[in-house]
């Protein structure tokens, strides 16, 4: 508002206009948008129209025939994806989804209502592709594709985390996430991706993981965690890497390897595998379960996912075990078998410890760590001292993709209840299939868009605040690497008394390891109340 004169300041009307949404021009604001993709990161994976541009400039450096490119892209996708065509045609704008989006609930911006967000594209579909829309224009809910419309679509496609909560409430089953997926594909035809997605995609293509960690660095980071385990638990672990002939290949998001508090979840995995004497291996090539390609285009998701089966084949493993991740599981569960399968060189997964056949993983040959761990607990195969987690009052955040994408509700809860004595559920309309997104999924976990992240994180945080105030909850458990990173930020703003953990970290703390020390500190090196010693200061 710095351009206003004092006289103008005095005339400011604080009430928003009551104009229809199509007449409210988009204002792109810092704190909401993510920085544009660097051209070289687009070039690495051969994506079109790499160029330098800024969302705040009038000129986005679009190619001359940009409009035809987008409309042709839409035409192709309407033909290719029957679901997209249906979602464009059948919405009756009943509004059932309108108030179900965390971004709308947190921001109050009506264009964050899923129906309106999809309508941004649907109006172009009507105006450019349907007879009624071409003739009647706005009367039929149609409009032409202009630069302003494109900018509006761009702005709001990156204010949707593809969490699919809205789709639960749609009487027609419209999945707005799929509209966003296609919307982002169209944006990418013009080289307008955001860097927070594009750089991980390029890194993943070149080195196998989002961070671009080279094999020796990846290995070194895991070994650092082993050093911490040696210090805090008192046992030495020597994890296997790229070991041919291992029974199981373990794949987890690289966030577990570098990001706090994901690294403690990784320590939990290491302890669990050591506890079991599991015949497994890490891979420094299939070293990323996450797939930011999924936030770019379905083809890119397929390309980046391919390494998992390739590596499983190269190493000659029998099946794949996957760590705690969100969208990795959406891609694995709903796409991998058809993207890059059939994986007929692998066997139907069987737990070598309990003999349980994971029939649900028959198609993908990939088992979720929570299913694997819950099965171990059910068969009494883990020695656990749950009192080590007594200082924690835990609640569980269902991550969007494992819950709505694959129906994984009970296993994590079963694990938590077996490794912790204090577990409290958040209110019913905020958990399981109705869970609220962390607010930063689908590649929106950048730093520059923190305001929109915090808005989107409010509905989840609001429920956490409730269990914190009512039951004294001080730990939010989850099974997603992005959740672990971004909920920490969200909590520090909304409910700073609550910390964030992966479920496997809780398991690691409770596991009684052979040859362990007195376990007076947890995997974070923090003293466990009532267990004597202060944290060791040795470095």
């Amino acid at each position: 508002m710095k351009d206003l004169t004092p006289q103008e300041m005095l005339r400011i009307d604080l009430h928003p206009p009551k104009t229809p949404w199509m007449d409210i021009p988009v204002k792109i604001k810092p704190g909401v948008y993510c920085y544009p993709a660097k051209p070289e990161k687009l070039e690495i994976v051969g994506m079109p129209n790499p160029h330098k541009w800024s969302p705040l400039d009038d000129d986005w450096g679009l190619p001359e025939d940009w409009k035809e490119i987008v409309l042709q892209g839409m035409r192709e996708r309407l033909d290719k994806h029957r679901s997209f065509k249906i979602f464009m045609d059948i919405c009756v704008r009943c509004g059932a989804c309108a108030d179900k989006c965390h971004f709308f609930l947190g921001s109050g911006d009506p264009k964050n209502m899923p129906v309106v967000r999809a309508e941004l594209i649907r109006s172009v579909y009507r105006g450019e592709f349907t007879r009624a829309g071409k003739i009647l224009g706005r009367l039929a809910g149609g409009r032409k594709l202009t630069e302003d419309v494109l900018k509006e679509i761009w702005y709001y496609m990156f204010q949707c985390t593809e969490c699919r909560r809205c789709s639960l409430f749609c009487p027609y089953g419209i999945d707005t996430a799929e509209v966003t997926i296609i919307g982002r594909e169209l944006i990418n035809l013009l080289g307008l991706n955001i860097n927070w997605i594009q750089e991980p995609v390029a890194n993943c293509y070149e080195t196998g993981n989002h961070l671009g960690l080279l094999p020796h660095t990846f290995k070194q980071n895991v070994e650092f965690m082993c050093m911490d385990i040696e210090e805090f638990v008192g046992i030495k672990i020597d994890p296997p890497f790229n070991r041919k002939g291992a029974e199981i290949l373990f794949v987890t998001p690289s966030g577990d390897v570098f990001a706090d508090p994901g690294i403690y979840t990784l320590m939990g995995y290491l302890l669990l595998f050591e506890h079991l004497g599991l015949d497994y291996t890490w891979s420094t090539y299939a070293c990323e379960g996450g797939n930011f390609g999924f936030f770019t285009s379905l083809e890119m998701a397929q390309r980046l996912n391919a390494k998992i089966y390739h590596e499983a084949k190269r190493l000659g493993v029998k099946w794949i075990l996957g760590g705690e991740c969100g969208h990795m599981w959406r891609v694995v569960h709903q796409y991998m078998a058809t993207f890059n399968g059939p994986a007929d060189f692998l066997e139907e997964p069987v737990s070598p410890i309990t003999g349980t056949k994971f029939e649900n993983a028959k198609a993908t040959k990939m088992v979720h760590i929570s299913e694997f761990t819950a099965d171990l607990i059910k068969h009494n195969k883990l020695k656990l001292d749950k009192s080590r987690n007594d200082h924690l009052k835990v609640t569980f955040h269902d991550s969007c993709n494992p819950s709505r994408g694959m129906g994984l509700f009970e296993e994590p809860r079963y694990i938590i209840k077996n490794v912790c004595n204090n577990f409290y559920e958040m209110p019913e309309n905020t958990i399981r299939e109705q869970t609220f997104c962390c607010g930063s999924g689908a590649g929106l976990n950048a730093g520059e868009n923190m305001e929109i992240r915090l808005r989107g994180g409010l509905p989840r945080a609001n429920a956490v605040k409730y269990v914190h105030e009512r039951f004294g909850v001080n730990m939010l458990a989850c099974i997603c690497a992005i959740d672990r990173a971004v909920l920490s930020a969200s909590m520090s703003y909304w409910v700073p008394e609550v910390k964030v953990t992966g479920v496997s970290e809780l398991v690691g703390n409770a596991l009684i390891m052979e040859g362990e020390n007195e376990r007076s500190v947890d995997l974070r090196g923090e003293p466990i109340p009532g267990r004597g010693e202060e944290v060791s200061e040795d470095v």
């Binding site: 400011i12 604080l14 108030d99």
Partner: protein
């Protein structure tokens, strides 16, 4: 005409508290687009409507505390919850905090005529000074919230890939660094104390 006292005004305000709070809430809702205001008003489930319920839960206790200051912590907590939401929403600073001045309007709308009738204008000015002090406190909280946002942004930045150097995990380095510092402080290193 002699002006009436603040006690008399507080009595009237207390009597009309319900209507004043309702009016204030309406004025807060009106700072959002109409569809949103409508939703904030209608949806009663606390978890389905976090912003609306925050406004609903905070407005009453804030007015009560202005009428009869009792528990400054409760007062602060409710102010914080209102401001914390608006500090990250699509408002400029003045628009975010305008809601506290809107309370004056709400009070005048409800008891303005009675105030004039009973010659309580001076008392109302005195009471409005309390509202102004609350607004000043709100500036403090707003700034704390904004600074927190920047702190979170900074922390996020530290974790970014380009911080990686020497092939070592960034968060591991930060954690080790903190440990070093703690240890050095513990040993009474004069350069650190």
């Amino acid at each position: 005409m002699a002006h009436g006292g603040i006690d008399q005004l507080i009595g009237i305000l207390t009597e009309q508290k319900g209507s004043i709070v309702e009016k204030w809430i309406q004025k807060i809702h009106e700072t959002y687009p109409p569809e949103t205001a409508n939703f904030f008003r209608k949806e009663r489930n606390k978890f389905a409507n976090p912003v609306g319920s925050t406004i609903q839960e905070a407005a009453g206790p804030i007015v009560e505390e202005l009428l009869e200051p009792r528990d400054s912590e409760v007062f602060y907590k409710h102010l914080d919850s209102l401001i914390r939401v608006r500090a990250v929403q699509d408002f400029t600073a003045y628009a975010a905090l305008s809601i506290f001045f809107a309370l004056k309007g709400a009070i005048r709308d409800i008891i303005g005529k009675q105030v004039r009738r009973e010659g309580l204008e001076w008392a109302l000015l005195e009471f409005e000074s309390r509202v102004d002090r609350m607004a000043l406190l709100a500036f403090d909280i707003f700034m704390q919230c904004r600074e927190k946002v920047w702190e979170i942004k900074r922390d996020d930045l530290l974790k970014r890939p380009f911080v990686l150097s020497g092939g070592m995990c960034a968060s591991y380095m930060v954690r080790r660094g903190q440990k070093h510092l703690k240890k050095a402080k513990g040993s009474n290193n004069p350069s650190l104390n």
